[in-house]
Symmetry: none
Subunit: 227 residues, 4 copies
């Protein structure tokens, strides 16, 4: 099994390097060669784990799926905000997440099916919004699907601009601004007043997670999901 351990590590190394390069250069300009150099791995190794550049990209793509589940909140809409803020933070700190989003937005990623990634993201938001609506958190006129697409689209754009202007350094702030501007037209005033959209909320949330309080409500969270 020692063998497999190493294999897993190698795979991870490659993925990490690929993520970095994809993020910096975009799919097309990223070269296998640079990934190789950065991962300190040879062609043979890479092609053992991934049989093509495309598959490598898909590997990066899928690697970050396990969204860390977040602590449940009073309102669904707060949970929506939380996931957005946490994503912002992870975008700044985790190359794989960065590359994932980058790839999804990269027009040049020929042959990569970028739609599912957005679908998942949108659906996730739509589900949360639907739950919020059924609990009376949203204004009556809100169209859940439309809003979900809007939020994802706007978020993507904000992230892109942040990247262009300052390497995403102010991403969390920009995302907070985005939510602050969108929520008044989505959420009922009573709920709106109680939402926390502060910039450092993501940090606090992730702090909690690492304190291993996680498992507790991780289960609770999934149990509660179907309410």
């Amino acid at each position: 099994v020692a063998r497999q351990d190493r294999a897993v590590r190698t795979r991870r190394t490659i993925l990490e390097a690929a993520a970095a390069v994809f993020d910096e250069r975009g799919y097309n300009s990223a070269t296998i060669g640079e990934i190789l150099t950065r991962a300190q791995v040879t062609k043979g190794a890479l092609y053992f784990h991934f049989s093509s550049k495309e598959e490598l990209a898909m590997g990066v793509f899928e690697e970050q799926l396990p969204d860390s589940p977040l602590p449940p909140q009073d309102t669904r809409i707060q949970e929506l905000i939380d996931s957005g803020l946490v994503l912002a933070r992870r975008l700044r700190t985790e190359a794989l997440v960065r590359a994932s989003v980058g790839l999804a937005l990269d027009q040049g990623a020929t042959g990569l099916d970028r739609i599912p990634a957005f679908r998942m993201w949108i659906d996730q938001n739509a589900r949360t919004l639907a739950a919020a609506k059924s609990r009376g958190e949203l204004l009556p006129l809100v169209d859940v699907d439309e809003t979900a697409e809007l939020v994802v689209g706007a978020y993507s754009g904000v992230q892109l601009l942040s990247q262009l202007r300052c390497q995403r350094q102010d991403l969390e702030h920009r995302v907070a601004v985005l939510y602050n501007h969108l929520l008044p037209s989505i959420v009922v005033p009573a709920v709106l007043a109680r939402l926390d959209v502060s910039t450092n909320r993501a940090e606090r949330l992730l702090g909690l997670l690492e304190e291993e309080l996680v498992p507790a409500w991780a289960e609770a969270g999934t149990a509660q999901k179907g309410d």
Copy 2:
């Protein structure tokens, strides 16, 4: 001089083809070869007009600068909306505009200075917002610069998602949704009630422009600018 006419036409043909390819493939994946094929032009012709792929991209970039001036409106904020809606429409109908925006958002466009394009767009919005604010159209807490960046970022993302999902066919609708969600947190209620954010407004505005009523208030518009 007839000679030069043809040159101008050729240049235009190339630009148009380049715009299409850049739009479809992204800067990096676009190949000179495909542009050549699409433009029905030879390498020689292309390299006579543009000395490199990069310069070609810059050509596309600059070609659409002439924002058609729009008719002045009662409120500045309505003018902001108008420019957004009109841009949405042009994005759907004009390949060059499409490519311009695509290029500006394209990470792979090495050596292309994408920042100025955004700067201009943001500044334009910031100026309009400032004017609106000084006329009491905005809520007191609105930070003009922050909001301008937000609007541009969100718009970009919405446009990107629309492209991905349906080739921008519903772009105008999505932009309208965006404005409908953002404005309540920006504009004072009194003004908000009078805004027109209908999807087909862009079409109507551009219809007017072509009726050549343009010159009339084009002058008036500039004269009034200083109010």
Copy 3:
């Protein structure tokens, strides 16, 4: 006739520019474009006078044929030396001569027949050596043809090395050294003692020429040639 004057001047301008570029870059790396720029002439003009790059090179090649005839000397061998020293000087000062020699030595000059140039040069030397021999200036064992080829070959190499080391700045000195080393094995001691191989001899000779004493023995020279 004014027309023709201009044509001649244009032709000359082009030739001069071509010479410079050929000299600096070599035949293959020289580009029509650079010649055009340097000559301040358009493509049409160039292709009116020379129908191809090759022909242009041939033009450069032939332009310097008119070896300025030199004043006759007591011994034929001194005349041989004179022509070598004068060539050295012209190589330093006249771009066309430089380019001519450069082209003749340029392996990359595809399609250019470089042999005739050498033939002429060798034959010229052989003739002078033969005359010298018939007048008893040479050692009995000297093989005129062999020696002529040797001199031309050695001269070429010395020139090349001088170019490589210092842009031919010391060419005249090197040529003098060459003659000083070769002559003892070619010329009879009595003549050898009276030869002038000083470095600045070329300058003095060319000085004379410009004082227009030229025509006088120019005729005399050709008359005497057959002796």
Copy 4:
């Protein structure tokens, strides 16, 4: 390791083909394509071993450095002659040597540092001449450095002319002629009389080398070097 063997062979094949093409066409006119064809190798193979045309040229350049050491002789000046004659022979029989010299003389070889090659050659000659002088083999007025440069330059030119006229077929003869003409003004008569400058001397020397008498005085030679 069998793998590596093949690589070494491939590398050699490429070098050989490159040498041939560089020799025939000159650096600039030589095309990678022709080298590929001649070597029966694909671009991938070539660019695995050499990352650019320039580096390929440098490879050719360095490959022939190992001057076969020659048997020591009674006089240093004879050793000088020997090295010249042997080089002449190798120029005729070994493509790599030919290309090396060709490249060094090729003006078009942009980016190739041709000067060191000449420096080495000149210095080698200068050292031998200096040794000869200190042993009283040379005429008192001989300037060692000047003469070394002369010899190298003249040799180069003679070689060039031989190539042009008959593909270097008579190179050894021409080199012999060169030495025969130069030596009388360099060497004292007593030594001069005993020198062997016969055309086929190179062949005899190389014959000895192959008879494996080599090692014997190869050591002796280096030991003796300091005398």
